[in-house]
């Protein structure tokens, strides 16, 4: 999906003279076409993410819509204060693109596991967070971020993800909206990011009759839709390739708590959060292996949910 995102960005940059791409010395075999097509709007700033973010703000102030590109923790956690203060406080038109969400760079070790970014970035005001589930959503994310003026973060898995959504032009892709992927009863699974593929595979293999929604945006939600979901389903399950602390599932629990507090729902729904169990996985492993030992052992967790549903 990273190629889909960058290729879409290249297409958009043909029409939009303000799109500017900065990279932190990463992007081999991905960014070259953009760099070649738009040499005046591309720059490798070196391995210096604090400066990359500052430079992005400086460019954005002068009218550019600036995308910063690197792997996982580097354009995010490494320069959190530049993001908080220079980007978000000043509402700079800067989009952070991080590849390698969750365990996408599995065997490369904890330095490359992007597993706390959502929790950290979603506390910062003015930030719009997007975690596309498949190449179709990645394309829409590029479209959205190219036309949206303000701070954004796109959390991209890597490559080789199956296309889940057939016709992307029919999807309602905007902050707060959920994309329904399958229709079932009793149990609804809401996922964010590329874990959606594994969720669908597991549900299909066991023939669970569950509803599944993708939530490509994290942090603010369509309240009416959430109220409706809480009325339709006995069990809500959230799935994310991120630590459970402060992540996507937490944000769903928070919003339901707020809805309950405001009297907009009569009772708190039963919510099961599935994610990484607040731990580092220091051993090598494929993305699938690390998911299973990190807490995303979907077969076991889904079986339990199904037997209790």
């Amino acid at each position: 999906m990273r190629n889909t995102f960058i290729n879409t960005l290249s297409e958009l940059a043909q029409e939009n003279p303000n799109i500017f791409l900065l990279c932190g010395d990463l992007g081999y075999s991905v960014l070259e076409p953009f760099a070649k097509a738009f040499p005046d709007r591309f720059l490798n700033v070196g391995i210096a993410e604090q400066n990359m973010t500052g430079v992005a703000v400086g460019l954005a102030r002068e009218g550019y819509n600036v995308f910063t590109y690197s792997i996982g923790n580097f354009p995010t956690l490494r320069c959190m204060e530049q993001i908080r203060y220079d980007v978000c406080y000043h509402r700079a038109n800067v989009k952070i693109i991080a590849v390698g969400a969750g365990y996408a760079y599995g065997a490369q070790g904890v330095s490359h596991h992007t597993t706390e970014d959502i929790g950290m970035l979603r506390t910062i005001p003015n930030m719009t967070i997007c975690a596309p589930a498949d190449p179709a959503e990645a394309k829409l994310a590029a479209n959205f971020m190219s036309s949206f003026n303000g701070p954004g973060y796109v959390r991209i898995n890597k490559s080789g993800e199956a296309i889940i959504h057939g016709d992307s032009s029919k999807l309602r892709f905007s902050p707060g909206e959920f994309i329904q992927v399958s229709q079932g009863k009793n149990v609804v699974v809401i996922t964010t990011g590329a874990i959606l593929g594994a969720v669908l595979d597991e549900i299909k293999s066991k023939n669970y009759s569950w509803s599944v929604f993708s939530s490509p945006f994290i942090g603010s939600y369509n309240k009416e839709k959430l109220i409706e979901i809480s009325k339709c389903y006995e069990n809500i399950v959230t799935v994310e390739e991120h630590q459970l602390n402060g992540g996507f599932g937490s944000s769903i629990v928070e919003i339901y708590s707020d809805l309950y507090d405001a009297g907009l729902i009569k009772k708190m729904p039963h919510i099961r959060r599935i994610g990484i169990n607040n731990k580092f996985i220091g051993v090598a492993g494929t993305q699938d292996y690390l998911r299973s030992v990190g807490g995303l052992d979907l077969a076991e967790k889904f079986l339990e949910i199904n037997s209790n549903a």
């Binding site: 005046d40 400086g58 102030r61 002068e62 009218g63 220079d86 000043h90």
Partner: protein, 270 residues
Amino acid sequence: MDLVKYAQEIRLLVLELCYTKKTSHIGGAFSVADILAVLYGEVMNINPLLDKEPGRDRLFYSKGHACTALYAALSKRNFFTTETLLNNFIKDGEYFTSHINHSLPGVELSTGSLGHALGVAAGSALAGKRKKLPYTVYAILSDGELDEGSNWEAIMFAAQNKLNNLILIIDYNKIQSFGRVEDVMALEPLADKFRAFNWHVEEVDGHSIEDLKATLTNLMQIDDSTPKCLIAHTIKGKGVSFMEDSLAWHYKSPNSDEYQDAKKQLELQK
């Protein structure tokens, strides 16, 4: 414009703000006052009536803690009135925070966390070059904040990308937050460091209005491809005898007697 007078007016207003509102950082505000007077009084192309005009020169003020000096400089150039500043400085609900605030006219960037502004300034300078706009980008950094690694990322970046429209001014008052620079994290040989990083470097007495003006004017006319660094040797607390070269005045605000004494000294220098 009488720049010596302007600089002393900045200091007097700084004193007034720090005394009446009991705020810190008077020493660093006094050390940068002459630099600001030369920039806002003569060198920079700015117009308070066209605050966001694309052709203006940009100043990114990284030592946001020395906000009183910049607020004073801006008010004397009518970006807002002196009365507004005196009334609203650190007042509940007003944007006059004690680290500079971009919600105010004339302030390009909010700062306060050190080591942020130079990267943004470099981005602004890069945009100027890519868009072929003739503006000059200035960044004023304190000496102590050169401890921040982010600055050195930006310093390498500016040289690599030939940002000759960027002028970095270092207010080198030799005292940082909790000690003397040479004791905490020595910067010397500072000029050589910048030269080794492929910058054009000049050193100047940061309290000589004439030297500042001549050097800055000269820097803008140098036709080479390197970013420029002006190391301004300054004195923390400059202008008030008992505040000069003293760590205490990074924090203290003057009491009534000190205020009267300081005011008298500054009035005599106008």
